[in-house]
Symmetry: C2
Subunit: 342 residues, 2 copies
Amino acid sequence: MQSDVAEDNSERVTLADVAEEAGVSLSTISKVLNGRSDVAGATRERVEELLRERGYMRRGGRAQPKAELIELVFHELDSIWSMELINGVESVAKEHGLSVVLTVSGSRHSPDPDWIEGVMRRRPVGVVLVFSDLAPEYRERLRARAIPFVIVDPAGDPSPDAPSVGSANWSGGLIATRHLIELGHTRIAAITGPEDMMCSLARLDGFRSAMNSAGLHIDPDWIQFGDFHAAGGRDRANTILAGPERPTAIFAGSDLQALGVLDAARASGLRVPEDLSIVGYDDIPLARWVTPPLTTVHQPLRRMGEEAARLVIRLSEETMESTPRMDLATSLVVRDSTAPPA
Amino acid sequence: MQSDVAEDNSERVTLADVAEEAGVSLSTISKVLNGRSDVAGATRERVEELLRERGYMRRGGRAQPKAELIELVFHELDSIWSMELINGVESVAKEHGLSVVLTVSGSRHSPDPDWIEGVMRRRPVGVVLVFSDLAPEYRERLRARAIPFVIVDPAGDPSPDAPSVGSANWSGGLIATRHLIELGHTRIAAITGPEDMMCSLARLDGFRSAMNSAGLHIDPDWIQFGDFHAAGGRDRANTILAGPERPTAIFAGSDLQALGVLDAARASGLRVPEDLSIVGYDDIPLARWVTPPLTTVHQPLRRMGEEAARLVIRLSEETMESTPRMDLATSLVVRDSTAPPA
């Protein structure tokens, strides 16, 4: 073990110092450095703090051989746009001779304990998390091993010390709504994602700003939070369309939701776009192939995956002074699901 | 190295025998057993053959520690159904405490040399290939290391010694076509996948059998080979619909193709299903959400991924007498894109 972590005399001395100061054996120090789980939490924390103070963690982490792997974690793989992100991460990984380990965490909060143990064993170059966060103790364990992580499109409010890649959600909501206003719509509803996701809130705020700038009233019943899936989009649209007054346009939080809205419109005997205009979000590859082809906000998903992979590789090679945050631009793609109100 | 491959005296004797017989050093034998690339091809082959004859390869391979990984190789990730297969492989891997390494090969023939070198270094439990094959020399190197592989839905004609998981393509073509015939259609066209893929041929043969059994004529111009993508489906449908006589129904080789056919129908002013019935293939999650919702052949993609992962794990634990081949059943899902001809 010791040969893994101590490369020259000065480092060996530091490790022995740390062991003495922490009141633990050298073998315990070694376990902490190797990310083993058989060390009590309080002991690990004390040792890690001392190691960081001595400037050891970074050097120690770097000195250890890394596997040629990038870890990619999704909270779920059932939305189509996951594919675009995977393609982006995979292509940059390949350029750098790295392979991608894919994990589906099943949770937006943090992957489960098995996952972090696996990562500690696999020693990847870095971790990219999509729509998922990391528990503080996992962040610590990754930092202790100098394994950087990058979050793509953070759910909720990312802590300021988490490097992340996103897209311009507020602008996306704004341009989608402006497009509808320019077509002459004044009664516009919005269906967005979960209320605890920052991207949902940012898109909705963009919607509000466009409406307010145009002096248009927002009916509170016409703002619906949901998930990003087709069935949710249909159910929310049914609620909105069942009201006493009907909007002439709906801004959906995702293309899948927009498909659900299309389904609800069809079930209500409404023609799209003649009776109801619909704008989606994401511009998934299929958006161009549905009937009618969707007007939508293009999110550069593949590029987001690429940038996240590039960032995590860069973080594995150098220390960056500030926490990087990158937002890629969104743009409107006008197709056939929007038209002036009848 | 030697301690890796030799577990008791009898094996040590065998290895020395093999080295002598092959006229190479023990270190070369060790390199071959460890899948290293710095051994000349001819030497490797001679050594591997001798090792197999002595019954050494299997035991030697087993004795080496395997990483807790399954390799999953796609030739491309741009069709939606890839997601379903990934989910299937991932969930079974997780049950077994394994992680999934995802590679996009970019080729239906075999991943590139970097990939096999990476696999040799990573020592996975097994390899699952989707719509992709393995060059004979890669198969040999995997066998030499006792790393099993399973092919999902083989492209072309899989060699009889490749374990594989597929679905009942011929039956799928048959039930799709029978459905159209039962609705009263007699002028039916078929768009299928590439001519060199077994699944395309099997589906088309199912189509032919249903037509022949019903005594219906097949217009040679109404059979089109293509790719499985939407744009290809649209282009082939345009060719078919531009002919002097028009079919009243088209059987498409994938749901994406069917979306392309829908687009072509719309461009020709044809209503679906009133003027043209369309049957898709795959039953991707979106098939239910397009307009009109697609009648399609359900392919159990997620289950295919699960079975492939289970099979490769089983092959890593035991030697199976015969080469396993599993075909999962397909079934027809009737939605709104098919109706009796006008």
